[in-house]
């Protein structure tokens, strides 16, 4: 456990040492801010549904950009060898890096807490869906971070890691929008696989165990796959 913390802290600090953190956070805030508030005053509704609706799509591009360096950079520089020959288990490394990326996403989301504060000042905001929305966002961020981590463990090239991560996250996001084209028999299955579907459920403010289990299993499977890849690649 302590080693997971040490790795997580180190990786988290790394984001802020290099300019990546500031670029990604600014980009994220500009994009969400613009898309959310440009339509906000047109509809004149005091809720954050549109904001949370944007997140799966934006996350499927932003999070792989955050996670792509986790393993790829180390493999490229060679420090992966230094890391793996220290007395740490593969799963501790994977969990530490996962925690760092998720923590970074949380740091990225903190400025957006000003949105509900601001909205509650100008209108009557129902905080239930907002809290649900942030819980859902956390789970979604965790799931996408674990997928991005897995993508990063596959290759020493950060761009390839980014593309693989985006491809998986994007697919999980749009899957439930494609149901129209699917044969009727498998609709339920496809819908269950889609991350967007579960995220929408939670962000309505309804916390259902099925949705929780979905996100936790995505995280579990991705981290497990990551440590399997680490084992097999040597």
């Amino acid at each position: 456990m302590t080693q997971i913390t040490h790795i997580a802290v180190k990786e988290f600090k790394d984001y802020f040492i290099s300019p990546i953190a500031y670029i990604v956070i600014s980009l994220f805030l500009i994009v969400t801010g613009w898309f959310f508030f440009s339509a906000f005053f047109v509809f004149g509704r005091a809720d954050m549904r549109d904001f949370f609706g944007l997140l799966p799509m934006i996350f499927s591009f932003v999070i792989p950009a955050v996670t792509m360096r986790l393993f790829s950079e180390e493999k490229n520089v060679g420090s992966y060898e230094t890391l793996l020959t220290m007395p740490v288990s593969f799963s501790d490394i994977a969990l530490g890096k996962f925690a760092a990326a998720t923590l970074f996403t949380v740091a990225m989301l903190i400025p957006t807490l000003s949105y509900p504060l601001f909205i509650s000042m100008i209108g009557d905001l129902d905080f239930g869906p907002v809290v649900g929305g942030y819980i859902g966002t956390l789970l979604l961020a965790g799931a996408y971070c674990s997928i991005g981590l897995f993508a990063s463990s596959l290759t020493r090239n950060q761009i390839i890691a980014f593309i693989i991560g985006t491809a998986i996250c994007f697919t999980l996001t749009i899957l439930d929008k494609l149901l129209f084209f699917m044969p009727e028999k498998i609709i339920a299955v496809i819908e269950y696989i889609s991350a967007n579907f579960h995220f929408t459920n939670i962000s309505k403010g309804v916390i259902d165990s099925r949705d929780l289990i979905y996100f936790l299993s995505v995280i579990f499977i991705s981290i497990l796959s990551t440590s399997i890849v680490m084992h097999e690649k040597n």
Binding site: T2, Q3, H6, I7, V77, S79, E81, T85, P87, N234
Partner: protein
């Protein structure tokens, strides 16, 4: 005590390391010698648990891989080739992080150890510099400090002196010899004189196989017949020196060698009976009015073994 049996590594079809057996007692400095691409790095990577062997077993005392890999890793310090480190960290932060990962939880212990290491590896003035700005030799020293962090029983160093300038090479060698007094050290190199100068035992590998494995001293001794005396004499005609040598010594092979110095004749004299002939030569030349400028016993034993064992066309 490290026991390696039948260690083999395949990269797809290519066999990088082919059934290596090694037994390394505690406190030995072992030099792994071989040309580039012989399988040195692969062997070391398997010893450190970074690579999984295709076949074979590695045991350290009563621990064996893969079951106790973590425990074995905590007994080892490893310096990979060209010391790959985190470039954006400061030297101090990096070493502190390594100490934490290696299980030094108390802050006081870490500071104390970091002070010791900065002293030993000469890092005092660079603790606050980003690793990316360090020269290769300094990075190498940070890498050695990393490897020695928990004062491990076994140190594995992969080409610790490659790419360093002669002063740095001497410094790193001194560090190795200083630690080697109580630790087991395995290090790889392709520089022969380095192995000769620092190791108790030399293992030469070529194309993934061990081709020689012996104490440094006995490896040299076995080929003592290869020794010759190098002799330079001033103010003498080469023919008369040769005649004198032939008259005073039995069973020698005399070969003139070229020299840059004016008015000097140089020879390689090889005793076919494996005797030290320096004394006789000196006494003879003392009686003349020549000036003896050089008289030295030389041996190219290791170079020769190395070249013969690792020649491209050598059938093994």
């Amino acid at each position: 005590m490290i026991e390696v049996k039948g260690l083999t590594k395949y990269y797809n079809d290519f066999c990088a390391v082919d059934h290596i057996d090694l037994s390394i007692p505690k406190g030995e400095i072992l030099g792994l010698l071989g040309p580039n691409g012989a399988g040195k790095t692969t062997t070391l990577r398997m010893l450190t648990g970074y690579f999984k062997p295709s076949e074979g077993s590695i045991t350290v005392d009563d621990l064996s891989m893969p079951g106790d890999t973590l425990k074995i890793k905590s007994r080892m310090g490893y310096l990979p080739e060209s010391a790959p480190l985190y470039h954006n960290m400061l030297v101090f932060d990096y070493l502190d992080y390594v100490a934490k990962i290696k299980g030094m939880t108390s802050g006081e212990d870490r500071i104390k150890r970091l002070k010791e290491l900065s002293e030993l590896c000469g890092l005092k003035n660079i603790m606050d510099r980003p690793i990316a700005t360090l020269s290769k030799g300094l990075k190498q020293r940070v890498g050695i400090a990393h490897a020695m962090m928990t004062d491990p029983e076994i140190l594995i160093l992969d080409e610790p002196t490659s790419g360093l300038d002669p002063n740095q090479i001497v410094e790193i060698r001194d560090i190795i010899r200083a630690i080697g007094k109580e630790k087991t050290i395995i290090f790889s190199t392709h520089i022969l004189s380095e192995a000769e100068a620092t190791c108790d035992r030399i293992v030469i590998i070529n194309k993934g196989k061990i081709v020689a494995d012996d104490k440094t001293a006995s490896l040299k001794q076995n080929l003592q017949s290869d020794a010759f005396v190098k002799l330079s004499v001033k103010h003498a005609a080469p023919e008369s020196v040769e005649t004198l040598l032939k008259d005073s010594l039995d069973n020698v092979d005399i070969k003139p060698i070229e020299t840059q110095e004016p008015d000097t004749a140089s020879f390689e004299v090889r005793s076919l009976e494996n005797q030290d002939i320096r004394e006789t030569i000196y006494l003879k030349i003392k009686d003349t009015d020549w000036i003896l400028t050089e008289l030295a016993q030389e041996s190219q034993a290791l170079e020769r073994i190395f070249q013969e064992l690792t020649r491209e066309d050598n059938p093994i």
